[in-house]
Every structure is written in C-alpha cells, then in structure tokens.
Symmetry: none
Subunit: 196 residues, 4 copies
DNA sequence: TATGAATGAGAATTCATTCAT
DNA sequence: CATGAATGAATTCTCATTCAT
C-alpha cells in the first residue's frame, strides 16, 4: 500500500465526513466542516482525497467493505438458505442500527450518486445485493425455494423492504417496535412467499 | 383566484423542473436551466414560486396528488384485499414506468428532503403508504391475512420492495424482464408471506 | 400645465413615496411599495414619473415648494431681522414636527442626492437657505447684526444647527424638551452671537 | 491573534471602502469595486467582514475612533472652556479637510444608517458629540457659560453648524473662504451666544 | 506533509422598467 | 390612461480548490 492510507488522517477524514454528510447531506456539507471535524486543515483533505466527490466515493468503498466483511463473517457458518436469509435481515438491520450515519449516507447519497458521479460504479453495493441472490439460487438448487422465483427480483425486493424499513427506523424518533422484530417479520414474509 | 396556478406558466415550470431535477438532481439543477426549459425568464420563476426549494416542494405536492388520485381510482372498484395488493404493485410500477422523471425525483430527492427542507412534512407520501396498510388491515379483518402481521411493517416492506425494484428498472438500460412480471412476483411473495 | 399633474394620482404617488422613502430610505424602497401605498399599479407610476429617481426629485421639488411657501408666508409680516431669525427657527422646527416624513427624506436623502443624481441641482433648497442669509444681510444693513459676520457662513451654521436638532428630535422617541424651547435656545445663541 | 485586523488586508479594505463609498455612496458601491480598489479578490472581503453592511460599520468604528483620538489629543492640553470650544471647531474642520472621504461617508451614510442597520448604535459618534456637551457643562460650572443653556441642545446645534458648513466646504469646488475662518466665525457665534 | 489565507467562478434572487391587453 | 405579468440585467455572497510558506 502506498502512503495514502498509512496515515490515520485518511481514516479520520473518512470518519468526519461520514458524520458531516449524514448530518447535512453531501451538497450542504462544506469541506471545511469535514476538516474541522477531523481536526485537520482544509488543505490537508486534498492530500488524501482528490476532491469532495472523492471523499464520498472513498467513504462508500470503505464503509461498504466493512459492511460486506461483517455480513460475510456472519453468514459463513450458516448452511441453511432460509436461515441465511433471516440472518441477513437481522444482521443488516443490526448494522444499520449500529452505524446510523453510514446507513443514512448509503441510503440517501447513494441514490443520487448517479447524478454527480456519472462514472462511479458502486461495485461493492452490487456485491452486497448479490449475497441475497446467491442465497436464493442456493435455496433453489437445494429445492427449498420455488424455481420460478427470479433471484434478481428477490434480491431487490428483499433489500428494498429492509432498506425502507431501516430508513423509517432511523428517522423515526420513537421506535414502535424492536428492529429485530421487523427483521423477523420481513424475512418471514419472503420465506413464506418463496418457499417451495 | 390568485395569480398562482390559474396561469399555465405554473404548470409549465413544474413540468420543466421535473425534467431538469430528474436529469441533474436538485442541487446540480440551476434555476436558469428550469427557466430555459419552461421558456420563461429567470425572474418569472419567482412570481410563481418562493425559491428553489419551493419548486421542489410544489412539484412533490402536485405529482404525489396525481399519483394518489390515480392509485385511488384504480383500487376503488376492487374489493378483495389480495387482489388490491397485487393491483397496487402493478399500478405503482406502471406509474413509475410512465412517469420516470417523477419517479426518479420522488425516489432520489424525497430521501434527502429532510436535509434541506426541515419543516416540510411529506403528508401525501404518508397517505400513499397508508393505502397499503389499510389494505392489510382490511385483509386481517376479513380473515385473509395473518393477524400477527404488523401493517406498519408491511407497508414499508412492500413499498420498499417495489421502490427498489423500480429504481433498478428505471436506471438499467436493458430491461431483463417485464415490469409487470416483477410486480406479480413481488406481490406474490408478500401475499404468500402474509396469507392466513 | 399638461395632463401630468391634473390627475390627483400624481399627488397620491408623491404622498405615498414620501411615506415609503421616509420609512425605508430611497434604495430600500421598492417602486411596487409606493404603488401599493398609492393604490395604483406599478406601471402607472411610469405614466407620471420617468423613473424612480424622478419620483424623489419631484418629491423634493413639491415638498420644498410647500416648505418655502409656508416659510415665506410666516416671515412676510415680520420686519425686525432678529424676530425674523427667531421665527425662522420656530417655523422650521414646527414644519419638521408636522411633516416628519418629509423632514426625514430631506435630511437623509438630500445628502446623498449628489451621489445618484449628479445633474440634479437642488435650487429650492438653496433658496430656502438664502432666506436666512437675506435676513442676515438685512440685519447688517439695518445695523443690528455685526458687519464682519459672513452671511454665507451663518446661513449654513444656523440651518445646520436647526437641522441636527430636528434630526435628533425626530429620531428620539422620548422628547426631553419642547421643540419650541430648542428653537428659542438656538436662535438666542445666534442672535447673541451676531448682534452688533 | 484572530485573523481579523492583524493582517494589513483588513485596513486595505477599509481604505478602499472609504474611497469607494465616498465616491458612489453605499448602495451604489459594489463589493467588487472595493475589492478591486483594495487589490484583493471579492471573496477575500468576506474573510475580513461579514457582509457589505459590516464593512460600513467597521469603517465607522475605525474612522470615528481615529477622529475621537485626534480630538481628545488636541483638546487635552487646553483648560479654558471657551478656548476648547473654539479649538473643537478648528480641529473638526481641519479633520474634515484632511479626510474628506471619511467626512463625506460619516455625513451622508451616517444619516441613513438607521435605515439599513437597525441594530447599529453609533456609540462613537455619541461620544464625539458628548465632548461638546462636556465642554459646555464644564463652562457652566466655571461660570463662564450661562446656566440656562441646555448642553444637549448646544452639542447638537454646534455640531450641526460645523457639519453643515463642512458639507458645503467639501462639496463646493471653489472655496470662497478659508475653512479656519469659518471655524472661528461659528465658534464666535456660539461663544457670544452662550457666554454668561 | 500540513497549513489556512486567498482566490474567483458560479448561482440564487431582486426589482426597476416595459408593454400587450 | 391603467394595469400587472413578465423580463433579465445586476449583485451579493459562497465555497471548492490552490499554493506559498
């Protein structure tokens, strides 16, 4: 690895940006806000990142990697596809709960990323979604999920369901129900819905 | 009759803004872009709208009203809750398909609305979601949906599933499958999942 | 006279402008504010006045004429120069008191008139000041005022003294002393000061 | 050390603003005019000042402080109240003569300050005026000025007389008489006028 | 590497003035 | 004459980015 990430300032800036972007949104956030939060000078940001866009992109990469690693680690010991799907829901909502800033940025800014970063292909996010479709396919092979179910549809529907749920959960001040309850409800809908 | 709305310029600006916001996103869109697209002078915008934010808010209100009206009209003749839910999915995705600009704005900018429009409460959107929970509750009363299903979770999960699906559908250039197929798949997952 | 002033709208606009300019100052006042106050359409203003500057100039002319006429009428019956000077002070401060809006505009906007109306020569104001120097000269001829007093200095000093006094009087909310008292004090200073 | 003032750019901008405001008046002066005159970028102005109003306010504060300091230094060695008053007139008019830009701004913009700077209380100016009333009061205590003279009236009348005189002197191209002559005339009027 | 003062392009908004009705 | 919707030039202020130290 080059010197770019050796220094912990790189991560301090990512952390700071995560907080500030979550608070104000990408366009409302000023580079100097991030610098202040990170305890560095404005100019220092440009030693570690090419520009403001690059901060957001790097943030996505780093945080999505973290999420991916976490999810992989949680799912690897499980063999049963149904259990895997349920676990995915639980872990996803738990991660959201524990990293609300990250969650908010991914939910909000990810959506408009295509607007300001035409070229940015969010491959990590695609990988994350593919964990779901891989589970579906595995279940279909093992004969526990119906064959006519389209994995590419389920992965989006399932993720969308969790995502909308977590958005509500993050934004609402009074939490009417446990997030784990929501995870179990949602995965049960889908499991019942796609069971062979 | 006030000067607002009784003139077609109001709607011409809304139309133009819908196109421009969808194309570039709210922050990247310049008021003068919208003016040019609408064929009016920059200053004219400010006769019909208080500021740039107000354009977006008004756009939400108008377009959500249109969506609401459409959905209500489509569902009113149906009595069976299961059929209603399926129809909701079909109509929603059809509306998205026919109003991609509107869909993109609602999906993308709606998310960050809380960031720049602290005071704006998107009541129309809440109403739209409540159509779903009303269907669920009705189904529970009629004994066709399971009692332990939480309507507030289903409405978000179901909408989220459709929304994520439609985002993909709108963004992807090559459409792998018919959007109606997706609608039927998703509603079937949920119907199987919550059936009594 | 042409049709310009025949219509009472001309005077209604002058009245309105007097009020609005006094309230907000020339630059902060909007033409549409004046139109609303006068109960006419924005465009109507431009039938009676060439532009915003012209409103102010016309206002000066009209109001200064009124002030001049008033002062002349009050002084004409008096023959004694000392008494005239005292009366000038009293009438001036009374006029200020009764026409605070006019006073404020003349005091405030007159000062910067040279800035935005390079060509405008405020002849009426010069005439008004000359009433004072005429009194001084008359007094010198009659031997009641000292010869070495320079009329051109006295006219400015005397007017300036009254003007500063009236500015304070207009602006301060609680009036510590009667404005007539101030008039008498000031004229007594000058009379003692220049008496032969 | 804050970033304000310790840099000479702060003063360069004040200087430039003094010139530009005197030339065109506050509202006609563009921030970019000031920036160009000061030899800095437009944005640099906003590092040292909050906004255009703040430039004017700061300018008042700085220049009035200068005037105050000067006047105090000139008067401090003098003990006789009459002589002090005369000296005040001389120094005031000399300062005006030497700082015509400053004088013009204080005379012109000070008047309308209440219009656009509701909250700004020009305390330095009040202090300056109070130098006069302090002299009057001192003279009354020493028995050289009449008791019935109201210091608050004299301070305004005297300042107003000098101010109107200096306005004329600054604006008129051909100077009919020496400014010192005017100072002596005016102070003699008042001294004769209020002498015990 | 790190700094942060300086830059200046860019954008929202205002409002005097016009002109078709 | 009167209207007031429409115009678009003009101006303040912001903030990502640079670069001399």
């Amino acid at each position: 690895m080059g010197k770019r990430k050796d220094n912990n300032k790189y991560y301090r800036i990512i952390e700071a940006a995560t907080k500030i972007f979550a608070q104000k949104g990408f366009y409302q956030a000023k580079v100097s806000d991030i610098a202040r939060e990170a305890g560095v000078a404005d100019g220092t940001i440009y030693i570690y990142f090419q520009n403001k866009d690059d901060i957001l992109i790097s943030l996505f990469e780093e945080q999505m990697q973290m999420v991916l690693d976490n999810m992989m680690a949680e799912l690897s010991p499980i063999t049963d596809p149904s259990e895997k799907l349920t676990r995915f829901a639980q872990v996803h909502l738990k991660l959201v709960q524990e990293n609300q800033d990250v969650a908010e940025i991914i939910q909000v800014e990810l959506r408009q990323s295509s607007k300001f970063m035409k070229e940015y292909k969010n491959e990590k996010f695609a990988k994350y979604l593919n964990i779901i479709s891989d589970i579906i396919r595995e279940g279909q092979e093992k004969g526990v999920f119906r064959k006519e179910v389209i994995p590419g549809v389920v992965k989006r529907a399932f993720f969308g369901a969790l995502d909308e749920m977590s958005r509500f959960w993050v934004l609402s001040s009074r939490k009417e129900y446990d997030i784990n309850t929501a995870a179990l409800q949602i995965s049960s809908y889908f499991l019942n819905g796609i069971r062979a």
